[in-house]
Symmetry: C2
Subunit: 189 residues, 2 copies
């Protein structure tokens, strides 16, 4: 009750989550060790296990956080005050770090994540919400709703696959080629 909004303890907790988010993006969950999280965050061993009973608990917190942040950024683009066609184009041409890969999508290849329902859930939610938002925008461009839903899945997929191709070839432009190829199709050539 005498505390400010964020106690000193919360600072360590936040630093742990942030460091875990970064490392998960770089190397995945399974391949990230508690020691790496400690080194990155500057937090001590004792503190980690004070704030999180296990690596799994930290992983869940970090994945949830990443998922929320990524969804918020995507929805910000899709809900801008502009014509639907422009919002769709803005989503597809958004600046992305192609060689780093998608912070969320890449987790679907992580064995620790896929083996754990609580880690999978934020990922499922992210893509469900993203595809739904895309379908809404696409429907606003005048496409029937059932067509819009399939097309929204295609749009989300081309971005995820663009990341895969970019990383596979060490070529950041592969993502742009994939999305621009789809945009041409969407805009009727």
């Amino acid at each position: 009750m005498t505390q400010t909004g964020i106690s000193r303890g919360q600072a360590a907790r936040e630093r742990l989550i942030t460091a875990a988010q970064e490392l998960f993006w770089e190397n995945g969950v399974a391949a990230t060790t508690p020691r790496q999280v400690l080194a990155r965050s500057g937090v001590g061993h004792g503190s980690l296990y004070h704030h999180f009973p296990t690596k799994r608990a930290l992983a869940i917190a970090a994945i949830q956080r990443t998922s929320e942040q990524a969804l918020a950024r995507a929805l910000a683009v899709l809900n801008q005050d502009r014509p639907a066609r422009e919002r769709l184009r803005a989503f597809l041409t958004r600046q992305r770090d192609a060689l780093a890969g998608c912070r969320i999508g890449r987790l679907t290849a992580d064995p620790d994540v896929m083996a754990d329902a609580e880690m999978r859930e934020p990922i499922r939610r992210y893509f469900t919400a993203l595809v739904e938002a895309l379908a809404t925008v696409i429907a606003e461009t005048g496409v029937p709703l059932t067509t819009a839903t399939a097309r929204a899945t295609t749009v989300a997929a081309v971005v995820q696959g663009g990341y895969v191709l970019a990383r596979a070839g060490g070529d950041a432009h592969a993502l742009e080629r994939a999305t621009s190829g789809l945009m041409d199709l969407l805009e009727g050539d």
Copy 2:
């Protein structure tokens, strides 16, 4: 000189590679242990390190093999004796184990693979050859070559992304929705 084409030793080597291929598909390279490969293949510890000096050497052999096999299967579909339009459709609607993910594409999220140029190379080759073959087929449908190349990247990306979405949602149909959404666009609605 007195040997048959495949010596008894090759049998163990082959079983190790096959087991590694399966395990890499299931769990990735980094998360697969030599012990798992031994258990799966039925080969003994001594034999593993007789045939492959390190886990890395086994991984390179297994990834190369997987890449060759996957490319051969894809090209078989794309080079059938049928109209280009049908071959493209056959590629997109090919039976795929969506929830298992792509044996090649998934490796782009593996930290061990991405940190090693020799492991990355077969993956790069696979997608380069796949996109080139797709571009040829698409060009045969009457599309200008530069457009065909971008479009080929889009096709490969939608398949890869479809896998990601399917695994993310635990929904095998997500892959079909992604590819059928693309097919509608390709066939001019």
